[in-house]
Symmetry: C2
Subunit: 308 residues, 2 copies
């Protein structure tokens, strides 16, 4: 299959416009807090130009404790060991990667954390797209989980009836903490290598990125609106802080995106902006039988189908 | 070289007695808080007996926010990939590991965090000892760093004049966060594979473990005594919480001990007891030029020789 013209440039432009769209919509829920922007450049290993990005962070809002939306378009040489992991050759190989990645940590434990990422990658002669979005509630509202998944399924179905069930399953498998025997959250979709190994049109795949990126606010913001006025106790906030520890464990122990960034000389503060602002670890925390806390954990240990 | 009789049992007994000694001495600094004990067993992969341990945790003291001292003696089968990393054969191989491991997180940012571990390992036909201890200050007091290293050097010198310089260097190299270009703290000593590849007597190496284990309280507690009354500000506490984030990053991204535990089916709560109780991550935190915070970071970026 031949690569459509200007794909890397068009992908990069798309991700930048998704970033702008999402930040503007998140700001609309904040009376005064606004995103700050950090434009950065990335020197490559030989001191040349390795691309760069734009990191946008909103912290200390009334709803959002920390929301980070990062755009990047970087090129360089990927170390052999890591290239092999991605299915590339076992040698140092040139790469280009562009994408937008976001993590939103609200104050209220009644509002779920969310993460999303859409990206385009060139590794040697191969190129593909990947991405997804997922939801990490602290207190489970089934209608929120159903809403999040329904919007995703709607977008997927327009592209292929196979996408949603396949990518939903991949998401549950990817965001899994084997040492905890739990998923990180109640899932969403996750896809990778789309357009590389299969007879999938790269152009259509870029359009899939587009549709998902612009549907994201519709997926998440109605949930925020619905839960932002819900009162919560100190104890419930404490449970959120403990659960955030699992988020950190996943991101540092297992997340390929984090490891990719750190091993290819990415910008540390942009990679680790995914980490929650305040996190607790207790030794052997317990939850009451039949409590909402226990229900959440049970749900994470037994992934469900949220939409048919 | 032949293995001395009963080495595994005597190592295990030694580590247990070191645990008892250290816990009693830490408690002597706490008016009322006491260690709680969790005895646990570890089923092996086939459901048989895989050993166990005793985890002791003191939390919410007046000096110590969280102190964990874990003893374990476990046996099982190490996955091929991990065995190869440890220099073993590239196949599943039986192992036995016993040791004591501790991490102490004080409330006050003026008192450093410390970590220590001494262990004995059998992997297939090979056996060796490893261990070390290191100090992670938030505000640097040079005399504390000198004291900690002096005690270590004293113990090392009794065994071999080569030990301290070699193991001090190994410690700086091991506790290094490449993505931050910093060491985790101001070091200590770190040794591994002692008695395996070299003409080192295993019996003498066990004695080295013994001497280090029983010198630990002398290394650390005078520092706690000296700093526990030092007043500190909210801002200084905040700096400690941010620096604890680096501690988490090291332990989850790089620490071999953590990965060993997670990959060999260790007890999760005992492995992750090393994580600090409360941790902050800010995006792009800054420190003032010439401040004590900057001095600390500079020191971590340029490891020093603390004793001659």
């Amino acid at each position: 299959m031949t690569t459509p013209p200007n794909l890397s440039q068009r992908a990069s432009d798309l991700y930048k416009s998704i970033q702008t769209h999402i930040c503007a919509n998140l700001e609309s829920l904040e009376p005064t807090a606004r995103f700050k922007s950090d434009e950065w450049e990335r020197p490559d290993a030989k001191g040349g130009h390795g691309g760069g990005g734009l990191t946008r962070i909103l912290s200390g809002g009334t709803v959002f404790e920390k929301a980070g939306v990062n755009f990047s378009a970087v090129r360089g040489t990927m170390p052999a060991a890591f290239a092999a992991k991605l299915g590339g050759p076992s040698e140092d190989v040139p790469f280009f990667a562009t994408g937008v990645s976001l993590v939103i940590h609200p104050y209220s434990p009644m509002i779920p954390t969310t993460h999303a990422n859409w990206r385009y990658l060139e590794l040697g002669n191969a190129c593909w797209l990947g991405g997804g979005s997922d939801l990490t509630p602290y207190y489970l509202y089934e209608e929120d989980a159903v809403h999040f998944h329904s919007v995703l399924k709607g977008v997927c179905d327009k592209h292929s009836p196979e996408y949603y069930p396949r990518f939903k399953k991949a998401c549950d498998e990817y965001f899994y903490l084997p040492h905890r025997k739990e998923t990180r959250g109640i899932g969403g979709i996750f896809y990778d290598y789309l357009g590389r190994d299969e007879k999938v049109d790269l152009e259509a795949t870029l359009k899939f990125s587009h549709d998902l990126g612009f549907a994201f606010t519709e997926q998440y913001l109605p949930i925020v609106e619905r839960r932002k006025g819900t009162p919560y106790t100190e104890k419930e906030k404490g449970f959120q802080l403990l659960r955030r520890g699992r988020y950190v464990e996943f991101n540092l122990l297992y997340d390929r995106g984090t490891h990719f960034g750190l091993q290819t000389g990415g910008r540390i503060e942009s990679i680790l902006m995914s980490l929650p602002p305040i996190v607790h670890w207790d030794y052997c925390p317990t939850v009451e039988e039949g409590s909402r806390e226990e229900l959440l954990i049970q749900t994470l240990m037994n992934p469900r189908e949220w939409v048919k």
